[in-house]
């Protein structure tokens, strides 16, 4: 049995997934700090600790994410686009389209039946419509981002959040709060805006079920529901959704050790 690790150093969080015999046997998640190299090591160690395994048991470590080259102890580096495709395919083999919304970017990735990337599109320049956008707006509402997922339920009159700029949206949210708007309506408005921008990206590669939603933002139920409403069908979300990139990286490493390409 080969134990492989994938380390995903994102813009916001560092994730690690340990795979053995096609199973995720350990994982870790922590915010990234300033020393990415250390963050990467810590991510691996924590995952090993969770799995109760030793560093020397790991056959291959593969890095991914913006900080993939900071996984200094790893053997390989693959872009997170490839890894999200691979990871989503592993979790939901019928995936045709992956929507990954992380801390700082949004990606729509079209994948083939083998989990290979066929096409992808990413948001340009702006932090609008990403996890960071939600973090900031949640804070403006007085919540942590992990609490707002169920909160939009029961929204009646979603407000129109017109600012696509994260920074300005924050003050728009603040002013809605001051005007006594229901936080549920504000959130519903925010979700609608993000989903709309995400759909625009998904259009670029072509929308085709099954759609798998990955990245930290997929943990937000409100976002998932809004997305499903606009798509008109269900999307796949795994409890491991934030680890999809790390899982994909681990799978790449596994392939490499086994010397085959899926």
């Amino acid at each position: 049995m080969t134990l492989v690790a994938g380390v995903d150093i994102g813009s916001t969080t560092a994730k690690c997934a340990l795979l053995e015999a096609g199973e995720v046997v350990g994982k870790s998640l922590a915010p990234v700090g300033v020393e990415l190299v250390k963050d990467a090591e810590r991510a691996l160690e924590q995952a090993l600790a969770e799995a109760g395994r030793e560093r020397r048991e790991v056959a291959v470590v593969t890095g991914t994410g913006y900080g993939r080259f900071k996984v200094k102890f790893g053997q390989f580096a693959v872009t997170e686009i490839g890894c999200h495709a691979k990871g989503a395919h592993y979790l939901f083999p019928a995936t045709h389209l992956v929507l990954d919304i992380g801390g700082q970017d949004t990606k729509a990735i079209k994948v083939d039946a083998q989990g290979e990337v066929v096409d992808f599109a990413m948001n340009d320049k702006c932090a609008a419509g990403t996890g960071r956008f939600l973090d900031v707006c949640a804070a403006a509402l007085g919540y942590d981002v992990s609490e707002i997922g169920t909160l939009s339920q029961g929204a009646r009159r979603p407000v129109k959040v017109t600012n696509t700029c994260t920074v300005f949206a924050e003050s728009e949210v603040t002013s809605y709060v001051a005007r006594g708007k229901d936080p549920r309506d504000i959130l519903a408005g925010l979700y609608a805006g993000i989903v709309s921008r995400s759909l625009s990206l998904m259009q670029r590669v072509g929308v085709e079920p099954e759609v798998t939603f990955t990245g930290g933002v997929s943990k937000n139920e409100g976002m998932v529901r809004t997305l499903e409403q606009r798509l008109g069908f269900k999307v796949n979300v795994s409890p491991l959704s934030q680890y999809v990139g790390a899982i994909g990286a681990a799978l790449y490493g596994l392939e490499r050790t086994e010397g085959t390409s899926a």
Partner: protein, 272 residues
């Protein structure tokens, strides 16, 4: 005659009381925290208390700032650009060019000797050029706002930030930290980046001496230095200039009062 100017800004709410449009009696500042009306009332109460007035001894109240219309107990409201121009000339009578950098916006304007705005230009779409950016950097780098300037001024090789986005600029800073750029260099880089953006606005309006900096960023000496370095001009800076718009509003309130001839009813309950 006592007039009050209240500047209900996105970040902070500032107030001043002026006597006869000339003498600054007192000032106050509280964070707005999304509730400008309450912030405005608090500032007013504090100021009145500070100089032992009765609330109805304030003859006229003029609001300015983003929330100027939401504050009910006002006689008049003016735009904060109009007000800052007046306030800048109040503090520095030879001012012909004003740079106003607040929490969410930065502007440059040219003014006449009375402080009337002739031309102005403001940052519109991006928040990257304003105080909020500094606040975020302070938070991220874990340096209290007040300590930023002294540290920044020791920079040897300031590292400016190229990203146009306040949020993405953070990532750039992360990278700088990771690459072990010394903290003062990063900090000074933040102010220089802001200054570069302000400089574009300033040039758009046309720079004429004297130039005065107003708005919250005047609290930071590093900002003043950065601006001087970038724009190659000497800059008037006075810590009271965070209150420039409030001062200007109080002045314009006084002018209006003169025109009316009589004092209007005491602060109305609502003049929506």
């Amino acid at each position: 005659m006592i007039t009050c100017g209240l500047d209900l800004g996105a970040g902070t709410t500032k107030g001043v009381l002026l006597e006869d449009g000339r003498t600054l009696l007192t000032s106050g500042l509280v964070p707005t925290r999304g509730n400008p009306v309450e912030a405005g009332r608090t500032v007013l109460e504090r100021m009145v208390e500070d100089i032992n007035l009765l609330p109805d001894e304030v003859d006229y109240l003029c609001t300015t700032g983003g929330a100027r219309y939401t504050y009910p107990d006002r006689h008049l409201q003016v735009s904060d650009i109009t007000a800052s121009g007046r306030g800048a000339v109040f503090l520095f009578p030879n001012t012909r060019h004003v740079v106003d950098i607040g929490n969410q916006s930065s502007r440059a304007m040219s003014v006449t000797e009375t402080g009337r705005v002739v031309r102005f230009k403001m940052n519109e779409k991006c928040a990257a050029g304003a105080g909020r950016f500094v606040d975020r950097c302070a938070k991220y780098l874990q340096v209290p706002l007040d300590e930023m300037a002294p540290k920044a001024l020791t920079a040897a090789h300031p590292k400016t930030i190229s990203s146009v986005c306040a949020v993405l600029a953070e990532t750039e800073i992360i990278n700088n930290v990771a690459e072990e750029v010394p903290l003062p260099d990063i900090l000074m880089g933040v102010f220089l980046s802001l200054a570069q953006r302000a400089y574009i606005l300033m040039r758009n309006v046309g720079i004429q001496p004297e130039v005065s900096l107003v708005g919250g960023l005047v609290q930071s000496e590093a900002m003043v230095r950065a601006l001087e370095q970038t724009a190659h001009v000497t800059i008037n800076a006075d810590r009271r200039a965070q209150h420039a718009a409030a001062i200007g509003a109080a002045m314009l309130g006084y002018a209006r009062l003169q025109k009316l001839g009589t004092r209007p009813t005491p602060l109305p309950a609502a003049v929506a």
